[in-house]
Each structure stands twice: as C-alpha cells, then as structure tokens.
C-alpha cells in the first residue's frame, strides 16, 4: 500500500486515531520528564548559574519553530503537485503551532538575554532571523484566514510558502551580513568536540523529543479538526442546496 493512501481524509483520520493516543502520551511523558529532569535534576552552570535551565525550553521550541516551517513547505509542495487535501490542511494546522513555538523561543530567549547579556533584545543575526520567521508565520496565517474558498486559500498560501521560503533564506544571509552575533553557536552537533556536558545533554534531548511529539500530536489533531470542518461544509452545502 502506497503512502499516498493516507492522503485520503478518511484513511488519514483512521490512521491518526490510532497514532494519536500514543503520540499524546509520549509527548506528555517526554515533556514532563525532560523539563522535570532539567528543572529539578540538573546542576547550575558555573557561568550561567541557574539560567541554563531555560535551555530545556528554549532549544526545543526554536527547533520546532524552524522545522514546522519546513514541514509546511513540504506539505505545500505536495498540495501543489499532487493536490492531496490532507497535506494542505496539515500545513494550515501546523502554522499556529509553529507560531506559538516561535513566540516561546523568542520569549525564553529574551528572558535569558536579560541576565546573560544585560539586555532583553539585541539585533543578533540568529535572533533577527527568528523574528523574521515569526513575521512569515503571521503573514501565512493571515492569508489563510482572509480567503473564503478553501482550495484557493490552500493554493495561495502554498505559493506564499514557497516564495516566502526563498526570501526567508535570503533574509538569513542578509542578516548575517548586516550584524555580528552574540548568540551561542550550534552546540548540539554530534561530531563536534566541545559538546555541552552530558548532564545537560540528556534531559535536553528528551525535552526536544517531547516537544517534537507534542508537535506531531497537535498537528494530527488539528488536521483532524480542519478535515471535520471541510466535511461539515461539504455536507451542509449538499443539504441546503435548496435555493
């Protein structure tokens, strides 16, 4: 059976009904364990003190924020090329989740910045790119909301997502050119020597996994909501076709 079978809303709902309980439970476990361990069970950093505990939220949120957009990009492409409704609706369902995660990343970063850098906000390239990503989420959601016809909305938001991704990438280079950074470099790469020590690393990875599962569970549920709305609309139309 091909993967595309699940592009059928009914099949998708059936599958998602089976996956969802597992996803929710695993997400809850991951988040509780990851954050709990991070908050209660890890030592303070010798330089950053207890603020290092923010990392267990900040990094997973930032990770989801970026990957949610990539998922939306892929879903948009699938919709444009193969016109599978579920993928368009999944993109729509993911956007608000990505937006909230972006906000969490921004907020926790800002809170972290105050004790570490002495400022809530600096125009560092990483921070700035993130803010631009936030704007792209806003525009994408606003376009979905503004268009009445669901298929047209799916088409147009997909085009926006494609073109927007190109411009977001260009913005990243522009921002790097424009300002030098304060922000941490990537410290989670597997091949690098100076990885952060294991005490921080393990709860962080658990937390990232928890956030990712939460994202999956939320998107599955929200896609189901969108499918219900479309289905209700389709049925309603056929009912009061009496004109």
């Amino acid at each position: 059976m091909s993967l595309w079978e699940y592009a059928n809303p009914v099949k998708f709902l059936a599958l998602s009904a089976r996956v969802q309980p597992v996803a929710w439970a695993a997400a809850l476990t991951g988040i509780v364990v990851g954050l709990g361990w991070g908050f209660f069970g890890t030592p303070d950093d010798f330089r950053q003190g207890s603020t290092v505990k923010i990392i267990y939220i900040h990094v997973p949120a930032a990770w989801i924020a970026i990957n949610a957009w990539i998922m939306m990009l892929i879903a948009s492409l699938i919709w444009l090329v193969r016109r599978h409704h579920v993928s368009a609706l999944a993109a729509r369902a993911a956007a608000p989740v990505g937006l909230v995660m972006t906000v969490i990343g921004l907020l926790t970063g800002a809170i972290w910045g105050q004790p570490m850098w002495g400022t809530w906000w600096a125009w560092d390239p990483r921070l700035t790119s993130f803010l631009i990503l936030f704007l792209f989420y806003l525009g994408y959601i606003a376009l979905w909301e503004a268009i009445e016809d669901p298929d047209t909305a799916a088409d147009l938001t997909s085009v926006l997502c494609l073109v927007g991704s190109v411009f977001a990438l260009m913005s990243r280079y522009a921002v790097l050119f424009w300002s030098q950074g304060l922000h941490q470099g990537a410290s989670l790469s597997l091949d690098k020597e100076e990885n952060i020590s294991d005490v921080f690393w393990i709860p962080l990875v658990i937390s990232i996994a928890g956030f990712t599962l939460l994202f999956i569970a939320l998107v599955l549920y929200r896609t189901g909501t969108e499918i219900s709305l479309r289905r209700a609309r389709a049925l309603a139309v056929r009912l009061d076709k009496e004109l």
Partner: protein
C-alpha cells in the same frame, strides 16, 4: 464551433451544474436560462477559461472566446474611445469605429467612462466585444440596465456577429427577440449522486 460534453462546474468548491452538453456551429447562438443561483454565471466563466471544469470535455473554446461578465472592464478615468482602443490593441485589432457605431456611442466617445449612466456604461462594455475579433461571444446578463432601444441595438449586433460566422452564448432572464436555441439549466443541477470531481468530494 464550440462543443461541450458532459461538463460539470463548481462554485466555491461546490458543484452547481453537471451533465451540460451542447454543440454550437458557426452562426448559432445559445441562450442559457434558469432561476437565480442555478449556475449560469459559473458555467459561462468555465467556458471562458476563467475557472477549470470539474469534469467533462470542452472543445473549441480555447483562445477564441471574448467574455463579458457582470463588470464591464472599463476604466473610469479613460474616455470611451480610449477604453475601446486599449482593448482593440490587446486583441491585436485597430478599428473601433464599427463598435462605436453599432451601439450609437459616437456622441459619448470622448466622455470619461466614469461619468456614464448605468446603461451607457453597459453599452460601452458591450461594444468592447466587437473590437476583440474573437468568434465566440460569452455574455452574462448583457442587457442589465439597458433600455428597449438599446436592447434592439444589442440584438442587431449579435445577429451581425452570427451572420459573420460567429457564435454567441448568453445568460439572460429577459427576452431578447433573438432566434436562438435555449438551454434551461435548472434540470441540470448537480445531484449529490453525480458530484464527481468536486473539490470537496474527498471529504464525503
């Protein structure tokens, strides 16, 4: 020649008509009738190529259609003659005299389109069809706001177009005095059973 076979059309993702079939030879006209909301506008827009059909086959429409919808496509800040000249140029034509004459627009040709009355504006909108040089005219309620005399001018223009080997497809609620076939779309309403290809079909 324009041939439709078993066409189904949708509006707002909802199928409104299905099983529309007809064939028009050069010199023939077809009048669509049907109550409000039956899908005439949707069908005409589909034939004009402004939206895709749900299913079915269509032949002979591509690049041969001149469409005139509820809006007139006139710029308020250009004079009637300028408007017509622009559309003539877009369609690779030059002469607008014939069109001005056919709708008695000569006295208004230097007026800005924005200062015309409802009926005068419609007249200028109809004249636009004559400068396209396209063989198939698709007209959605062309005589809205027109007085009786102008409806006569319009009927003459359509007859001349048909006489020259053209085809005309009209949706209207009133009688135009044209000798043409009539297609009542009311019985063609899309039934739940034959909603194939509706964009929301996957959700049922």
């Amino acid at each position: 020649m324009l041939r439709l076979k078993n066409i189904a059309v949708a509006r707002g993702g909802v199928p409104v008509l299905s099983g529309v079939s007809f064939a028009l030879e050069a010199g023939q006209a077809l009048i669509l009738r049907g109550p409000n909301g039956s899908g005439k506008t949707t069908l005409l827009r589909t034939i004009a190529g402004l939206q895709p059909a749900l299913s079915g086959e269509m032949e002979g429409a591509e690049d041969r259609v001149a469409y005139s919808g509820h809006a007139d496509g006139l710029k308020a800040m250009l004079s009637v003659a300028e408007n017509l000249k622009f559309w003539a140029a877009v369609y690779g034509q030059h002469d607008i005299e014939g069109a001005l004459e056919a709708y008695a627009l000569a006295p208004l040709s230097d007026r800005l389109a924005g200062t015309l009355s409802a009926g005068q504006k419609r007249r200028a909108g109809l004249a636009r069809l004559m400068v396209t040089g396209r063989p198939i005219w698709i007209l959605d309620e062309p005589t809205v706001s027109l007085d009786a005399a102008t409806v006569g001018l319009f009927a003459d223009a359509v007859r001349a177009h048909l006489g020259g080997g053209g085809i005309a497809l009209l949706a209207t609620h009133i009688d135009l005095g044209l000798e043409a076939q009539v297609l009542d779309v009311a019985p063609l309403r899309a039934m739940p059973a034959d909603l194939h290809g509706a964009s929301d079909e996957a959700f049922l």
